[in-house]
Amino acid sequence: MTEPLLDIRDLHVTYRTLGGSVPAVRGVSLSIQPGESVGVAGESGCGKSTVASTILRLQPRTAKVEGEVHVLGKDVVRMRWGRLRVLRWAEASMIFQGALHSLNPVQRIGDQIAEPMRLHDATVGKVAAARRVGELLEQVGLSAARARSYPHQLSGGQKQRVMIAMALACNPSLVVADEPTTALDVMVQAQVLDVMTGLVRELGIGLLLISHDLSVLSSTCDRVAVMYAGRVVESANAGRIFDDPQHPYSAALAAAFPRVGDPKSRYSPAGLAGDPPDPQRLPTGCTFHPRCHWAIEDCSRIDPRLEPAGTDRTDRMVACIRAGETVGEAT
């Protein structure tokens, strides 16, 4: 029996602001087994980055967290600060959204990569740390001599590789990547993703990859969860969710990224009208119903629960009262 690397149970995160409390995450459950890659998809503001920030408890002070977040069997939400600092980076590390700003501009990148190594293991000397930095840089496809560079001397793609090298510095069991390729152009994006997923697979590390791009997630992850307005609306095997989405929102996300060589997707209306709802004024019933093409009267009254659905019901959960019916019509 293996213990999951990450086990999030009924997570609620509420931001307290001057304008009242904002429920950003409303009951998300998610788990990652050792060596597994799980993707989280959704529009901006759906709560996916908030979920990521709770894993190392990096959410701002104004956030109120309820539920459980177990990293390697230990609940991070109720952990003491000292224990939490030991867990951070050594057991679970993060690759942040904008590598452009996530590196300290006035420190050599080698020093920044070596910092967590020496922090978490006092027996690592300067020389040993420098050697390991060189290895890590080579693993991500940079030369070891780059350790002496400052962040401003690197390109965006190189900086993101440095972030990946840094995330691997302490041999963590879990890596959380929060939109690791958002600020990069498409070509570099593909290279960085390739380096990251390749290393994660090779080293047997669990990966939580957060992205708005469902096509990226479906090609790099084992499983994908789609989030909308602070909840998971569909979770399934990665390939299936892109090819055969069951929730109308997943279908819209999948349609937003046209497939090469498929004339049907080229001419069909891509994208979704409207904006995600204001978390302080959520619609009644299913939060997606005002934007949904398949909404029926009941959708504004019944708040659907995440339930097994579809032909692969052992592996798929959908929160839609019309799940099963909408198959085929959605795309």
Binding site: R88, M94, F96, M187
Partner: protein, 351 residues
């Protein structure tokens, strides 16, 4: 196969290392040369301004020196000749350049003594006063600003920010006078504890241990005045610079790495926040020098400041020129140090 596999690893990640290193060293050297050249240019400019600036003062040194005595026109003419003021301005300028080049700056009108040796005698009380208060105000100010920003909105921040704004709005000579009356002269029930002026008690040997302590005692109030007057600004600037940095993403990275709060602040945030502060400290040295002039007058410290105010009454051109050159040279050198320090703190500036 994915698109990434076709593209392969980024094609030109690295320049050959040898070339990269030598060019890095030469940019560092080039940076130094450029900064030195800039400082030298400013100093040359000051050298010229220095001469003409004090000749704009409307009073005539010969008449001031002869005041209170019955003088014949002949004696006045002789005095003018001794002081070299009978020469045309361009000739006087050349003499000034020659005297400056020798480092003696000519002979004081008032003291009939070489200005060079006069300046050296008066330099070190000012150096002790300005140096000590600069270092103290930087240390205390930056420490207060850092804590205020880190614990923004809490008790320490409220008290220190209110206090520093009050202090910041006080002119240093006014603060000096208040402290002078409170602690040197004595006010109401408070006895005057500190000496009311001078650098050392008469009859005390300045080179003995007792003499040094005696001087430190005399310098306490002036140093406290200048420190308080300048730490306020440093604290406010450090606070706002650090607050700017605190929203930055790299601090989240540092926290995620498992660093303690203190280390996040010390290793990552403070160094970035220091960048604007360094410039300010260097620029401020000009003001602190002028502050020294008024403070030395308030507390009668026989330093360069008091020498300057006394010389202005004549006006004693050679003394004024010498003192002014020392003041401006120290500001230029401080700025040079700041720029080099800036280059060291922020690698992006070295380009």
């Amino acid at each position: 196969m994915t698109a990434a596999a076709e593209v392969g690893v980024e094609p030109l990640p690295d320049v050959p290392q040898q070339r990269a290193r030598s060019s890095r060293r030469s940019t560092g050297l080039w940076f130094l040369v450029r900064k030195l050249f800039g400082a030298a240019t400013s100093l040359l400019f000051m050298l010229v301004v220095n001469f003409f600036l004090f000749r704009v003062i409307p009073s005539d040194p010969v008449r001031t020196l002869a005041r209170g005595r019955a003088t014949t026109p002949k004696q006045v003419a002789a005095l003018t000749k001794t002081l070299g003021l009978d020469q045309p301005l361009p000739v006087q300028f050349l003499t000034y350049l020659k005297n400056t080049a020798t480092g003696q700056f000519g002979v004081s009108f008032q003291y009939r003594q070489s200005v060079g040796s006069l300046l050296i005698d008066r330099l070190w009380p000012t150096l002790a006063l300005v140096g000590t208060s600069t270092i103290l105000s930087i240390l205390i100010g930056l420490w207060m600003g850092t804590l205020a920003a880190w614990y923004r909105g809490q008790m320490f921040d409220t008290i220190s920010t209110t206090g520093t704004i009050v202090l910041y709005s006080m002119p240093e000579w006014w603060l000096g006078l208040i402290l002078f009356f409170l602690f040197a002269v004595g006010f109401g029930p408070i006895p005057g504890v500190f000496p009311i002026g001078g650098l050392i008690d008469p009859g005390v040997n300045g080179s003995s241990v007792h003499g040094v302590l005696n001087m430190a005692w005399h310098l306490t109030l002036p140093v406290v005045t200048l420190t308080i007057a300048y730490l306020a600004e440093y604290a406010l600037i450090m606070r706002s610079a650090l607050l700017d940095e605190m929203g930055e993403d790299y601090l989240v990275t540092a926290r995620a790495k498992g660093l303690r709060d203190v280390l996040v602040r010390r290793r990552h945030a403070t160094r970035n926040a220091l960048l604007p502060v360094v410039t300010l400290v260097a620029l401020n040295l000009g003001f602190i020098v002028s502050g020294a002039i008024t403070i030395e007058t308030v507390f009668s410290i026989p330093g360069l400041g008091l020498l300057t105010t006394d010389a202005l009454k004549i006006p004693d051109y050679p003394v004024l020129q010498g003192a002014f050159l020392v003041f401006s040279a120290s500001v230029i050198v401080a700025n040079l140090i700041a720029q080099l320090l800036y280059g060291w703190l922020d690698p992006r500036v070295r380009l």
